[in-house]
């Protein structure tokens, strides 16, 4: 489990601003998002969906979310 943090995201080379990370929530549940190091995506644990980040731009359109498979749970930090 990894929480959104500026240090983590900069290490991941995504350069997502800290303020941005503090403001963004899951578009469907409105709950906080978690950054997944393995998939470099934003994860909503509340509904089990991940959202991609493309070229530093978070993609938080609900229909573009991917349902997390059970086996991917094992890869979460």
């Amino acid at each position: 489990m990894v929480r959104f943090s500026r240090v983590l995201l900069k290490d991941a080379g995504l350069a997502i601003d800290k303020t941005l990370s503090e403001i963004l929530v899951c578009p469907l549940s409105k709950q906080p998002l978690r950054f997944c190091e393995k998939t470099k995506s934003l994860v909503s644990d509340t509904i089990g969906v991940s959202f991609p980040i493309n070229d530093g731009i978070p993609c938080l359109v609900p229909k573009d979310g991917k349902i997390l498979e059970e086996e991917s749970n094992a890869s979460k930090d």
Binding site: L20, I23, L24, V25, C26, P27, K30, L60
Partner: protein, 261 residues
């Protein structure tokens, strides 16, 4: 979104889409994916066409929209349906490097243009802009986060205007404003006639040079399917805003809704 946004009651092929529900204000049709494709497709020429078709006036309208939003130094603001970023850039000049601008759009191509423009322009205040691919009907923000919201040529294009207004209300801080710029659906027959004449005889022919005539032919029907100023005010009040006022600008061709949470 900028000047030449569209709302499509039909597909590009002219086939009518099934109507899934009817709200008091408008038909709700499920074609947001096709609109997304549309705006992705016209992204490369969007800015040039806006300049050409409005003779540069769209810059004036957008400056007015930003002024009406009340955005000021240090604010955190949201630009919905930001497209290639015109309003976002203007907002960043208002809020400065200590503020924050979130530019949200559902078109990845439009956001790519916006991001490129941000990188090309050498102004420190532009660094405060963050681009987000998202849906105006399901905003990825918590409640009461923003000091101001702008929306340029976007409300006419969303598939559920009630829902969009309620989302804007939700993420606004109490006492803050939303400023929504779009074409004006005028009650004056002469204004409506001139708008349609301009679209038929100027907009569509010019768009045809860019092979986008089909897309812009729908602009007339899109405006007809939009809400009048009074209806927009009612929409905002129903969404919970404490006050709402619609201002007609540019001879009644354009309008700007200002609502206070």
């Amino acid at each position: 979104m900028t000047v030449l946004g569209l709302a499509l009651p039909v597909t590009f092929t002219g086939q009518q889409l099934p109507v899934t529900s009817r709200s008091r204000h408008s038909l709700v049709v499920k074609c947001s994916s096709e609109r997304q494709i549309l705006f992705n497709r016209i992204a490369p020429v969007y800015d040039n066409l806006n300049d050409l078709l409005s003779l540069g006036q769209h810059r004036i309208w957008k400056n007015m929209a930003v002024s009406w939003s009340g955005a000021k130094t240090g604010d955190h603001v949201l630009d919905l349906c930001c497209g290639s970023g015109d309003l976002s850039f203007l907002l960043s000049e208002k809020v400065g490097f200590n503020g924050k601008v979130m530019g949200l759009d559902f078109s990845s191509e439009q956001l790519a243009v916006a991001s490129s423009r941000q990188n090309l322009r050498d102004r420190s205040c532009y660094k405060c802009i963050e681009w987000i691919e998202g849906d105006a009907l399901d905003l990825p923000f918590d409640d009461c986060k923003f000091d101001a919201i702008t929306m340029g040529y976007g409300l006419r294009n969303v598939v559920d205007r009630d829902r969009a207004m309620r989302e804007m209300y939700r993420v606004l801080k109490p006492g803050s404003r939303v400023s929504i710029l779009d074409f004006n659906k005028s009650n004056q027959p002469m204004t409506r006639f001139m708008q349609e004449w301009m679209i038929d005889n100027v907009v569509v022919p010019v768009a045809s040079f860019y092979s986008l005539a089909k897309e812009y032919e729908y602009l007339k029907y899109s405006i007809n399917g939009y809400l009048t100023g009074q209806e927009l005010e009612a929409l905002a009040l129903e969404a919970g805003f404490s006050s709402a006022r619609h201002y007609e600008i540019s001879g009644g061709f354009m309008g700007n809704l200002v609502a206070v949470r």
